[in-house]
């Protein structure tokens, strides 16, 4: 055991398998077709068929027992192809149910794994009786959320309000009426914090995708497009901006992979690293997609150019939790041994 930054053979197979799936089922045409809702039922069906939910659950709970690192490698592909499917939330919700382990939770988990029900989770507690901007809330069959120390579940009916949003995500506002308890006691707080850690690191991994792909598109454009007789990539104003973005993205990928790895291999650092990775990867993806878009000149501003798809999601996807500074604060609270009041 020593430093090894390459995916193992198994990990590479996993990456390749999902890359192939997304190549086929999540082209930018498909991504556009799924807008504005941001949910592509065919992609989601294919992901489920390939075990996207089952893999996330421990073997003891009937799943395939993938590590968080495995899930992060898949999330990278998900982000790279802007997958219009609530995979991250479904995975984290399923893992949370397995961890809670009450009869209600187990029942919900069975539905999620075998029954094909889409269970998601709210990242923030309700305010004034309303869960706001629930990830996948517009398409979920059930929403897990925490209120007053209890874990509850809600089957959002006609009352949910779909929210059009910058990231083309199937979020919605959902009134909490009609919710029922799933668990209570200290396990709830642990489960929620653990779920948030996992969602943060998977979103961090997902952000490396649009960042890297936006950079590739930008580099390609900078090589092809000419101004004053030379490729625009030969101007330092363009080249240096892309070099900075590439550096940040390389760092971002190392950090989210380390964070995901630590979930099982160095669990004492997981919470800190997950939050650091979320903040850093979000910034890196935004920087890369903004620069790439800007260097496209007026073309980047056209809806028909793909680059805007990446730019909008780099802002919108991670914002379901909060801005990077909130995550950096969460990480620092861990480092200083404070309780996660910022979570």
């Amino acid at each position: 055991m020593a430093l090894d930054l390459s995916p193992s053979e198994e990990q590479q197979q996993l990456i390749d398998a999902f890359a192939a799936l997304y190549d086929k089922e999540s082209s930018t045409e498909r991504v556009r077709a799924a807008e504005p809702l941001g949910h592509d039922p065919d992609l989601w069906r294919r992901l489920r068929e390939n075990g996207a939910v089952e893999m996330a659950v421990d073997e003891a709970a009937g799943g395939w027992g993938a590590t968080v690192l495995d899930l992060a490698l898949v999330a990278e592909q998900h982000g790279r192809h802007l997958g219009s499917a609530p995979m991250l939330e479904a995975q984290v919700a399923a893992r949370t149910l397995a961890r809670v382990g009450t009869p209600e939770a187990t029942g919900l988990l069975e539905g999620a794994m075998d029954g094909g029900r889409l269970v998601t989770l709210a990242l923030h507690p309700p305010r004034a009786g309303l869960l706001r901007m629930v990830p996948a809330g517009a398409v979920a069959d059930a929403i897990l959320f925490v209120d007053g120390g209890r874990l509850l579940v809600l089957e959002p009916g006609l009352g949910r309000i779909r929210v059009a949003n910058l990231g083309s995500l199937p979020v919605s506002d959902v009134p909490v009426e009609g919710s029922r308890p799933v668990a209570e006691g200290p396990v709830v707080r642990d489960a929620l914090e653990g779920a948030l850690d996992e969602w943060l690191v998977l979103m961090a991994a997902a952000m490396v995708g649009p960042g890297a792909r936006a950079l590739e598109i930008g580099v390609g454009y900078a090589k092809d497009r000419h101004a004053f007789g030379v490729p625009i990539g030969s101007f330092q104003a363009v080249a240096h901006g892309l070099a900075d973005a590439a550096t940040a993205l390389d760092g971002a990928q190392l950090l989210e992979r380390e964070a995901a790895w630590s979930a099982t291999e160095e669990p004492g650092r997981f919470r800190e690293l997950a939050a650091l990775a979320f903040g850093f990867c979000t910034d890196a993806a935004r920087q890369a997609s903004y620069r790439s878009l800007h260097y496209h000149g007026g073309y980047g501003f056209m809806l028909e150019h793909d680059i805007q798809l990446f730019w909008r999601r780099a802002k919108g996807w991670p914002a379901q939790y909060a801005e990077p500074d909130v995550a950096f604060g969460r990480a620092e609270a861990c480092r200083l041994g404070m309780s996660g009041e910022e979570g």
Partner: protein, 388 residues
């Protein structure tokens, strides 16, 4: 030193506000929003009736004889209110060029109708393959007796679907050095061979890609000399007056300040009670004040008869980079709720930050990219050698 704009300018401001209250109806704004077209014929005709199509022109030529700063104040109000002025803007740039360089017949054809608000002229400089380097234009114009035959395409010909003419930069001598073989024409747009393909942008605005296939224009609509198009462009640039900056930033800040003072449902205090919120809004306020001051300086320099330097470039660069920075920051400040789209009934602060975040992207590109402005400032302002 006096930072007051003066009575005359404040009077223009009052009149502009009255005008906008009357003519910038919710209907006009709603139509702009749904169509993405920043031109409205009713509004345009009202402007014309008020004599405000060319406020800076001499009274005897149909203008109001406003100083540059007075015109700027009018623009400040129009931008702040989000009025549809893009069409009249491009029309009057071209009318201004024709006033200087046009033949009597051209003046007769264009100027009275432009002042009456009857026609729209769009700009046809940029092409798909040359971006902001307009000197590389490839659209061909070939003489055929008393006419010219035009073939090619132009990018970002905003309002072409409403337009009567495109003021077009064409290549008439492909063998001459780049800037030597160009000629400008006033090309009638309502004729066969003109194809207009709408393009939607991130901010919801509509622009166009336009194609020209064997389009004919009589030699009488040629502006300037044959192969003298570059000189015509230079005159156009020299007519550039100070442009109001930061209207969209001010609107966003005003909306977010209202948000900051309102305690949210289920909350215990308004957002403004958080010092982080105040600091972020305050930084935007500082930038907006600077955007306004830089634009006013540009106007003042022109009014005072001094040779304009890089004031216009600085004003444009600063304001567009500022809205890019601040819209990203303030959108983040709103948290998850900030992502609600402008137009969604649940949007925070009317979706002002979400809209500004998309809108900002255009500002650092249109009218000369930030990189081009920095080149100009470095060379003409600081005297640095030509960047490479």
């Amino acid at each position: 030193m006096d930072f007051r704009l003066g009575e005359a300018a404040e009077d223009v401001r009052r009149q502009a506000r009255q005008f906008l209250e009357q003519h910038l109806t919710d209907e006009v704004k709603e139509k702009m929003h749904t169509t993405g077209v920043h031109h409205d014929w009713d509004f345009h005709r009202a402007l014309s009736e008020r004599g405000w199509v060319a406020p800076g022109w001499p009274v005897e030529l149909g203008g109001q004889g406003y100083s540059v700063v007075e015109g700027l104040v009018m623009q400040e109000e129009f931008h702040q209110a989000g009025a549809p002025t893009y069409g009249v803007g491009t029309t009057m740039i071209v009318a201004g060029i024709i006033r200087r360089l046009g033949t009597p017949a051209q003046k007769e054809l264009v100027i009275p109708r432009a002042l009456r608000g009857e026609i729209i002229i769009v700009l046809g400089f940029t092409e798909p393959e040359c971006g902001s380097v307009v000197v590389a234009a490839q659209t061909r114009a070939v003489r055929d007796g008393d006419e010219w035959v035009i073939n090619g395409s132009k990018m970002f010909t905003t309002n072409a679907q409403e337009g009567d003419y495109a003021f077009m930069l064409t290549r008439t001598d492909p063998d001459a050095p780049k800037h030597k073989g160009l000629t400008t024409f006033l090309v009638p747009l309502r004729q066969p061979g003109v194809e207009i393909r709408p393009i939607r942008t991130l901010s919801g605005e509509r622009t166009n890609l336009t194609f020209y296939t064997d389009v004919r224009v009589e030699d009488g609509l040629r502006i300037g000399e044959v192969d003298g198009g570059w000189d015509v462009m230079a005159v156009g640039l020299s007519l550039e007056r100070a442009g109001a900056q930061g209207g969209e930033s001010s609107r966003m800040l005003a909306a977010l300040e209202r948000w900051a003072c309102t305690t949210p449902e289920g909350g215990s205090a308004p957002p403004a009670s958080d010092p982080r919120v105040r600091a972020r809004l305050g930084r935007a306020a500082a930038e907006n004040e600077v955007s306004t001051l830089l634009a006013r300086r540009s106007g003042w320099v022109q009014d005072s008869g001094a040779l304009p330097g890089v004031e216009g470039s600085m004003a444009k660069l600063f304001a567009s980079e500022a809205i890019t920075r601040q819209s990203a920051d303030l959108l983040d400040m709103l948290g998850p709720d900030g992502m609600r789209s402008e137009g969604d009934p649940t949007a925070l602060a009317g979706g002002a930050a979400e809209y500004a975040y998309r809108f900002a992207l255009g500002t650092t590109t249109y009218g000369g990219t930030s990189e081009v402005q920095r080149n100009i400032i470095a060379q003409r302002g600081l005297g640095l050698p030509r960047p490479r």
